[in-house]
Amino acid sequence: MRGLLRGTVKRTESVAPAAPPIPMYLIIMAAFAIHLPLLIKELPLASYDANFHIFFASHYVHHWFNPWNLKWFAGFSQTTYPPLPQQWVALISRLIGLNMAYMAVQMAVIVLLAVGVYRFSLLWVSPRAASFAALASVFLGSESFLVYSAGQLATTSAAPIYLNALPFLFQWVRYGKWRSFVKASVLFTAAAAAHHATLIFGSFFFAVPVLALVFLDRGDDESASTSGVVARTVTIVVFVAIAIAIVLLPFWISLIRYPVTQTPIPHASRANYILSPQWGMNYFVVPYGALILALPFLVVRGAMVPRLRPLLFGFWLAFLVGLGGTTPVGRVLLGRAFEVLTYERFSYWATLLALPILGSITADLVDRFHTRAIIPLSLLAAGTCALAVSWSTFHPADAANFDVQPVAQWLNRDGHYDFRYVTLGFGNKLSRLAVLTRANSVDGESNSARMLPELTKYGGGALTSSKYYEKAGLDSLRAMLHHADHYGLKWVIVRDSYYDPLLHFAGWRQVDSLEDKTITIWSKDGVPPAVPMNSEQIPPHWQGVLWGTLPFGSSILAILVLLIPESRDSEWDEDDTSVAQANLLSGRTV
């Protein structure tokens, strides 16, 4: 932490006496005060993807160096998803169990985000404004939405690491400081090990504005000549690309061998939020919260201050893409990828990009109006956070909360685990069941990992939720049941009688029931025991060793290099008066 704070870009203040920034320890305490109780109550377990990450982590607990997981899709490779946060969960779970390990990692990520936002904001605004931005990150609706409703541990892990890397990128490109080069490279690599998409898209939304800022700030600085800046940019891009290629090598190999060609699965974040206001509420109002009120001011402030314009454009682009199908921007920019990606994370990135400008506006308001600004701003921030946190209650990922332990016990006894199973009506409890049982399934929640043609051909999501994908999902389910013998699929565990007619007519018989007959178990005769499948997709041992070593190692290395002290460079410290002047000017425009 000290290394992170020391590595920030220092800003000189204007001639006017300025109020001090909010101390970082207070911001971190605020983060703990708000999120720790919620995490201790394990609120994220009700989110869409938390159990998915815990399931992946549970595999790493037992098979750190073997990414081949038999429990889903008749066998799949976990190299299809960057492993860093899940491996940390796996490691910590040895002390406090999987659930609390997930919460611990998520808490660390929230704290790291506050630090990252502060450091990133320092590139653009004064320390005081940066401290307001960091404090705002604690209340950020999009962060709480991803943590408590979406459960996107990977996205929320990668972004803070990435934000912490960006100041080092700035220092390297502008001043050519090799320590910054090393720190930026290691942090970028660790961010990619947490979530590759953050790095790919972050390069456009975050890094390009930072590079533009280098050009804006360089002035007469000899070390920041155009050729030097370009050379250093190319150097770090190439180096980081090579590093990421090596650290995530099994991932790239898997992606190249098995490109994502499956029929796109509908995702509501691609809706037009005006034509489908219910999704507008979910993917725009909740993540942005009171930030919606600030949007005009963000744009005006960002446009009026020349140094903030790159940031404004980065924000605007992420904002437009984050609107999903509300504008044609995402479809035009991303092409077919538009139908594969989900857009809540773009809104998340947009809000992160907005924070420095928001911090600047907030600082001005607080300095000018004191309590009259602090009270309404605090209420708006608290309301935003509260709405996003409570959204998982108003709009639960899985309306039915039930215990899958009896199902796991049933599968784990009497040789039932010799056959594969599929659940129907289990929602995201599918992952929780997979953690608890030794039996294997043909279903699963990772859309990028599944290779079975019955799952990839039709455009349905997880079989357990087939009916919600209407014809596509039901076609996929029927195809899978049709090939039950091939997959050793003997058990269908049903928690939604909607599916009963299909099972009845397709040759399955109800053989047992659990939990006061709310869960029924159906079986098919003549199904042979499950045999290992998809052997050609099994990563070789060396890939397993790489997977268990390099991504996690990159995070350890990131922690170590941050301990390297920053040199005191007078040129660096005294160079940025233009920033403060611009801030001061901008402050008077509001």
Binding site: I274, V299, Y499, S523, D525
Partner: protein, 375 residues
């Protein structure tokens, strides 16, 4: 300062413009989530009015659909909803309108006839339904008169049932289903016939339960190449009646997409049977069967539930024979409405036109599903 204002205004205007464009001409995914094409469209033409109604049905906005009807005074909203979703649990209850087509039949200045063909998606597959809509011009827009299918009302009655029932006593509650102490019922494939079709090979046949106890049956076919290797292996899935009472026969049909009959040296048939509890109830009578020859070959008829219990879903399976009694084709249809006691329901089974000319007679069996019953 001026440049900054210009940038801010430009961003604001561009954002609004992009949102307007994205709303007026939404991308396909946005259209999907908004309920399909024609969403919120006008009713300025008979086609547009029909599409709007279909979209409202697609979105399950049935109250809105009802309120837009021109003849809503003739029936209640509940009757309209029951007409679409069924009054009792049936395939219609949870069906979703997947796609639809509208076809003008007749149009004048003030009246029009439109055929609305709806493709419903259900858990067991799709079914189609065509309603001929009558539309009337009302001012500058058209309104639809919905052709409600009146639900038959059966008078209260009591009748005795007298049917056979077989129960099985297992060793104990802890027994695993399938690990039984008794032999499997004797079943036999009495006919098997591979047919080459454009989409691949289809294996047709009939299976007889020659035992004196009921059997839960299934059939698996494995295609073997000339070198003895396995070409493909599939089972009858839902193209069979799985529960067979003693001496009952069921047809079966097994599809092998992408396989040509010239590749096949032999076919290995594996019938599977398990002793199960079963009853002869409900008795479903097939009435008024009529085979219509080519070009639109089909078998039409009615099912009548002779028992006092509701059959939620029925599956009709028909075996078609030539004049020599040889198997020609097997086809089936799920009935989208529940079979109420003593209330005939129509069925319609299409038959491939090229095979229809060989068909001399047919035999129909009905598999049934009752909610809450594990039989």
């Amino acid at each position: 300062m001026a440049k900054g204002i210009l940038i801010a205004v430009s961003i604001g205007i561009a954002t609004v413009l992009l949102i307007v464009i994205g709303t007026i001409w939404p991308v396909s995914t946005a259209v999907f989530f908004a309920g399909g094409p024609g969403l919120g469209g006008s009713a300025s033409t008979p086609i547009a009015a029909s599409r709007r109604l279909a979209n409202e049905i697609h979105q399950h906005a049935l109250a809105k659909a009802y309120s837009s009807l021109g003849n809503k005074a003739q029936f209640t909203e509940q009757e309209f909803v029951s007409d679409l979703t069924g009054s009792t649990l049936s395939l219609r209850t949870y069906a979703t309108l997947d796609t639809y087509e509208v076809r003008p039949l007749h149009e004048s200045a003030n009246e029009a006839e439109i055929a609305l063909r709806m493709h419903w998606s259900t858990v067991v597959g799709t079914f189609e339904e065509t309603r001929d809509l009558h539309l009337v011009k009302n001012g500058d827009h058209w309104v639809v008169d919905w052709p409600l299918v009146k639900k038959p009302v059966v008078p209260p009655q009591v009748f005795a049932v007298n049917y056979l029932r077989w129960d099985v006593i297992y060793r104990g509650a802890g027994d695993d289903w399938g690990s039984q102490d008794v032999d499997a019922p004797h079943v036999r494939i009495i006919d098997m016939h591979p047919v080459n079709r454009a989409e691949g090979v289809v294996v047709l046949g009939e299976l007889l339960n020659e035992d004196v106890v009921p059997a839960y049956v299934s059939v698996r076919a494995t295609l073997l190449a000339k070198n003895g290797s396995v070409l493909a292996s599939e089972d009858s899935f839902d193209k069979i009646s799985h529960t067979l009472l003693p001496k009952q026969v069921t047809p079966f049909l097994i599809r092998f997409p992408g396989v040509d009959i010239s590749q096949i040296a032999s076919i290995r048939m594996d019938p599977i049977s398990v002793l199960v509890s079963a009853s002869a109830d409900p008795v479903i009578e097939v009435q008024n069967q009529k085979f219509n020859g080519p070009p639109a070959a089909s078998l039409n008829g009615q099912l009548s539930n002779q028992s006092g219990q509701i059959v939620n879903i029925a599956h009709v399976l028909t075996t078609f024979y030539d004049k020599n009694g040889q198997l020609v084709w097997v086809a089936g249809q799920y009935i989208d409405r529940a079979l109420l006691p003593q209330t005939p329901v129509d069925f319609h089974i299409p038959v491939p036109a090229d095979l229809a000319k060989n068909i001399a007679n047919e035999r129909t069996v009905v598999a049934s599903y009752r909610s809450g019953s594990s039989d």
